[in-house]
């Protein structure tokens, strides 16, 4: 049911074409599955296993290691409040307590309407903007309690301009067929041609 749909299968094939060893595409494909369904379903893992040529158990093994990959449904919006050291120093604990009170859930929990999942996360690389958070991996900087409440209202009203959970980057890499150098498989390759250039070639370059 929740195997990759036809559109995403095409995207998946393109992703696979960029790796010399298909297994390397596992995480990007899991992200793609999550983009489709909001979380990674068992059917999607089985489908990815087929595409990559590994067992579903191996896909599960990788999937379960990484925090972003959810194997259970989560809210439409993941609100991840940073609790790293710089944010801690500037009041992230208070912000988290405020969020708990506002949403009525503890970190890890999802609101009854299924809209918002709250998480307290480690440093998200915006330390000079503390305290900060991410909504579906989009930043909100120097967040006050009032900012937080406004954000929650906007998310509930659907006016926050944030894509639903799972949809990560809005731009995908695309390599035109005529522009591909081609992948480098780990075996069966000699020294790359350009390494034979030497100083006397100077000036002959493009």
């Amino acid at each position: 049911m929740a195997r990759l749909n036809a559109n995403n299968l095409t995207v998946a094939q393109e992703i696979l074409s960029r790796y010399p060893v298909p297994r390397s595409a596992l995480i990007p494909l899991l992200h793609l599955a999550q983009e489709q369904d909001g979380y990674v379903t068992e059917d999607a893992m089985a489908h990815i296993a087929e595409l990559v040529g590994v067992t579903p158990a191996e896909v599960m093994g990788t999937c379960s290691f990484y925090e972003m990959l959810k194997r259970e449904p989560v809210g439409q919006y993941m609100v991840n409040i940073c609790n790293g050291i710089s944010c801690h120093l500037l009041g992230s604990s208070d912000l988290i307590h405020h969020a708990e009170a506002t949403l009525g859930v503890r970190p890890g929990g999802t609101t009854d309407d299924g809209k918002i999942t709250l998480e307290a996360v480690e440093c998200i690389a915006a330390c000079t903007e503390a305290p900060c958070l991410q909504v579906n991996y989009r930043y909100r900087n120097q967040v006050t309690a009032d900012d937080f409440d406004q954000l929650v209202d906007d998310l509930r009203a659907g006016t926050a301009g944030v894509a639903p959970h799972g949809q990560l980057a809005k731009v995908r890499q695309h390599i035109g067929d005529d522009r591909r150098a081609g992948v480098s498989p780990p075996d069966g390759q000699g020294e790359p041609a350009w390494m034979a250039r030497n100083p006397s070639d100077n000036g002959d370059g493009p």
Partner: protein, 442 residues
């Protein structure tokens, strides 16, 4: 000398203020891809030579010279890969994300130069999963660069130089920043560090082949180095710490920010107190302590302020510049809570492969939690040090390692620093009975 004033010295953040600096048009207009063109006129070995001359130290944490590491690729073994470490997750670190978002082409150009110099035939750009905007900017930049002929088949029309850059997503795991874990992850596995030796993936890395892993900031310096020459780069900063470096100054300062400064000559006092940079403490507050190089680094104090941001000096003073993350704490700071915060990070992020790290970090976290809850036992402070000693015997700097990677020993730094300096604050958390009957209660 017509050297620019320190605050005007911009090697890799020069386009941060330019509105369209992230686009190909903006990049080309401001000198972009000149370094690549110049490199292609040189022999690959000579490009490598310029990087050696520059004495460019790695910006990912360990500070190993890039030109030397590049030399560790075993001759005659092909293919070789380039893996860009864009996993930036060390608490306090904030610079690689900016470099990827604001100047993606500079990084792409740096990758191409490294590939050309060393015969790396495919590049993987591993970007931390949580950085959706950075991924977008890099995807857009790569698409433009491919179209324009800078990346892919026949770079700039050269018949003999073709290289693909594959944008890769992480999925949330700090430990994947460790280079061998990064490679495991890129092979589709759980991100657990590999047993050393080999010490460098340059000998055995991705798919068992020679692999150069470099940090985003390290590679972002290459276009400037090739355009201006390794000597010009080495002339900036100090003898042993050349060029510029990007530091994030966060925490209790008046003006937190990300600053590019001359490497090795700027001091902690400059960057924390100068109005050009972080502008000193918040009004009415005084400095208590600061972390000089990310969560893994032992803490520094007032007496360290005049040390230059120079690798050897800081190493010898008992800490490290690490990933360029300076976290400042003022007199309002509860150091026990701050210490607990950093230790909890390592306990959460341990990959679980080595017993001293898996068990040790979580016990440190548990003990600190009970101290904070007012349920500490009189022997807990010594117990903390004992657990630290088990993770990293001798609690020395640089730390001794009983583990596969340095994450475990990193959890020792905040405890050793805070407990040595502020033992009284820890004791104050112990229940009164525990303190008075210390040594009697077992």
């Amino acid at each position: 000398m017509t050297a620019p004033a320190p605050q005007d010295l911009r090697v890799i953040t020069s386009r941060f203020a330019i509105e369209d600096g992230h686009t190909l048009a903006g990049y080309e207009r401001t000198g972009g891809y000149a370094g690549l063109r110049r490199a292609l006129e040189m022999a690959p070995a000579d490009v490598h030579g310029e990087v050696r001359t520059a004495s460019l130290l790695g910006r990912g944490g360990a500070g190993f010279p890039a030109g030397v590491k590049w030399g560790f690729c075993p001759p005659g073994v092909w293919p070789r890969y380039l893996v860009v470490n864009g996993d930036e997750s060390e608490p306090g670190t904030y610079k690689d994300r900016l470099l990827m978002e604001r100047d993606p082409h500079q990084l792409i150009e740096g990758c191409l130069i490294a590939c050309y110099a060393l015969g790396l035939s495919q590049c993987f750009l591993y970007v931390r999963g949580e950085m959706a905007h950075a991924q977008e900017r890099l995807a857009a930049a790569l698409n433009e660069a491919y179209e324009a002929g800078y990346v892919g088949a026949n770079v700039l029309g050269a018949e003999d130089f073709s290289v693909d850059i594959t944008l890769h997503w992480g999925a949330g795991a700090y430990i994947v920043g460790e280079e061998t874990a990064l490679i495991e992850s890129l092979e589709g596995d759980r991100g657990m560090p590999r047993l050393k030796p080999p010490y460098f993936p340059a000998s055995i890395g991705l798919y068992g082949k020679p692999t150069i892993v470099n940090n985003v900031e390290t590679l972002a310096n290459l276009p400037w180095i090739v355009s201006n020459g390794g000597e010009a780069f080495a002339a900036m900063g100090a003898d042993s710490s050349t060029g510029t470096r990007v530091f994030a100054v966060s925490g209790h300062v008046a003006n937190p920010g990300v600053f590019e400064v001359p490497f090795g000559t700027t001091t902690f006092r400059d960057i924390i107190f100068d109005p050009l940079y972080a502008g000193g403490m918040r009004p009415g507050r005084t400095l208590k302590t600061f972390i000089p190089g990310g969560a893994s680094a032992p803490w520094f104090f007032e007496e360290h302020l005049d040390l230059p941001l120079e690798k050897t000096t800081v190493d010898q003073a008992g800490s490290m510049l690490g990933s360029g993350a300076i976290v400042v704490m003022d007199d309002t700071t509860d150091v026990v809570k701050a210490c607990h915060n950093v230790v909890r990070f390592f306990a959460r992020e341990s990959c679980g492969k080595c017993t001293p790290c898996r068990e040790g970090t979580s016990w440190l976290e548990k003990i600190l939690s009970r101290i904070l809850a007012g349920q500490g036992r009189p022997q807990d402070l010594d117990l903390l040090m004992d657990v630290c000693d088990n993770i990293s015997p001798g609690i020395a700097w640089p730390p001794r390692q009983t583990t596969i990677c340095p994450l475990g020993p990193s959890a020792v730094s905040p405890i050793a620093s805070a407990l040595e300096r502020f033992r009284g604050e820890f004791e104050a958390y112990l229940p009164a009975t525990a303190v008075t009957v210390a040594g009697v209660v077992s």
